[in-house]
Symmetry: C2
Subunit: 205 residues, 2 copies
């Protein structure tokens, strides 16, 4: 056993790393995770390419860390605010609304991070795809749990297939993002909102 004398990372390094990842997550929604190059990212945040690169062992590690950062932003901007609502059904509605708001507020310049990046890498087997796959799974599971809670609270028909309903609600929100970003039409988000509200009305017991 070799006792590795761990030395704490320096605070300026931590700040740099955080700034790099924040910029990487945001730029990736425009350039893509592959299209985003180390050199341009370094220029963007005013650092040397090698100085930036030293924080990560490879581009893939940078991509994985950027996805983690994006997931944190997503949690803070979409999931957490929706916890405040009163009642199970209200929390589910708030979650969908919160997603549409996060798209409209352009938290990421290229729309929803995961929509932008998943389509790019869903055909590239590897650790990056795997992480995106798990995060999509987790998001759908979260929606499904919220549906289940509303069913248990007697606010949604317990006969509804929770997974199916979660799939459909997410379909509305994702389509709102896709049309909003490509067409530049805020009406798309309103369409998505009307869509999931009507679907929830049908599912009400």
């Amino acid at each position: 056993m070799v006792a590795t004398p761990v030395r704490a990372r320096r605070s300026d390094g931590d700040r740099s790393r955080a700034a790099i990842l924040d910029a990487a997550a945001r730029l990736a929604t425009v350039e893509g995770l592959e299209g985003l190059s180390i050199g341009r990212l370094a220029d963007y945040i005013g650092m040397s390419k090698s100085g930036l690169y030293a924080h990560f062992g490879s581009k893939e590690e940078l991509q994985l860390a950027a996805i983690d950062t994006a997931a944190s932003i997503f949690t803070a901007e979409v999931i957490d605010p929706a916890r405040a609502a009163d009642g199970a059904l209200a929390r589910l509605e708030a979650l969908c609304d919160s997603f549409l708001s996060y798209v409209e507020r352009e938290v990421f310049p290229g729309g929803c991070f995961f929509a932008a990046v998943s389509a790019e890498l869903d055909s590239h087997p590897g650790a990056v795809k795997e992480k995106l796959r798990e995060l999509q799974r987790a998001w759908l599971d979260l929606l499904e749990r919220r549906v289940g809670a509303a069913q248990e609270a007697g606010e949604l028909d317990p006969a509804e297939d929770a997974g199916q309903l979660a799939f459909e609600l997410n379909a509305m929100c994702a389509m709102g993002n896709a049309v909003f970003v490509l067409q530049g039409d805020p009406n798309a988000l309103e369409r998505a909102r009307r869509g999931f509200l009507a679907r929830l009305a049908v599912a009400a017991s």
Copy 2:
């Protein structure tokens, strides 16, 4: 006025160009339209880079032509087969079914061409984005016309907002593609199918 003495293109050139564009459209769903490089495309179809490149004045022209080719494939594989169905509502259903089948049959190795490529370029202003925007618009309009026809035939409630319904049907199909490609789960297509069928049942008068 200078009379330009037009000379017909050679037939072998036409065949090459078609082969290039077919490969480009299919590879673009995996590598992306930007990620697809001239050199790799040339290797893939067994041609020299410069020989391939001579067919197009720039990479953007190649991208635009590949999108046209993909649109033709989409029409042949999705839109045309759905014309055969009997009755307006049946034609609408067949259109959605046809889309899901086109995804499942992996006409493009990376799922729906437009889903794969739109997310990549929706934040890059230019002719390519513009063309993708118009094609998305045209697809939504087609769905809306099919909805309108079913309403006129008395098979769908005329009180339904046709544009809204088209949006929601497309949301189901697009989400089916997205989950199928990323999770590799054919169940996603069944979910999409159940989703649009249930939505049409609600819209039935």
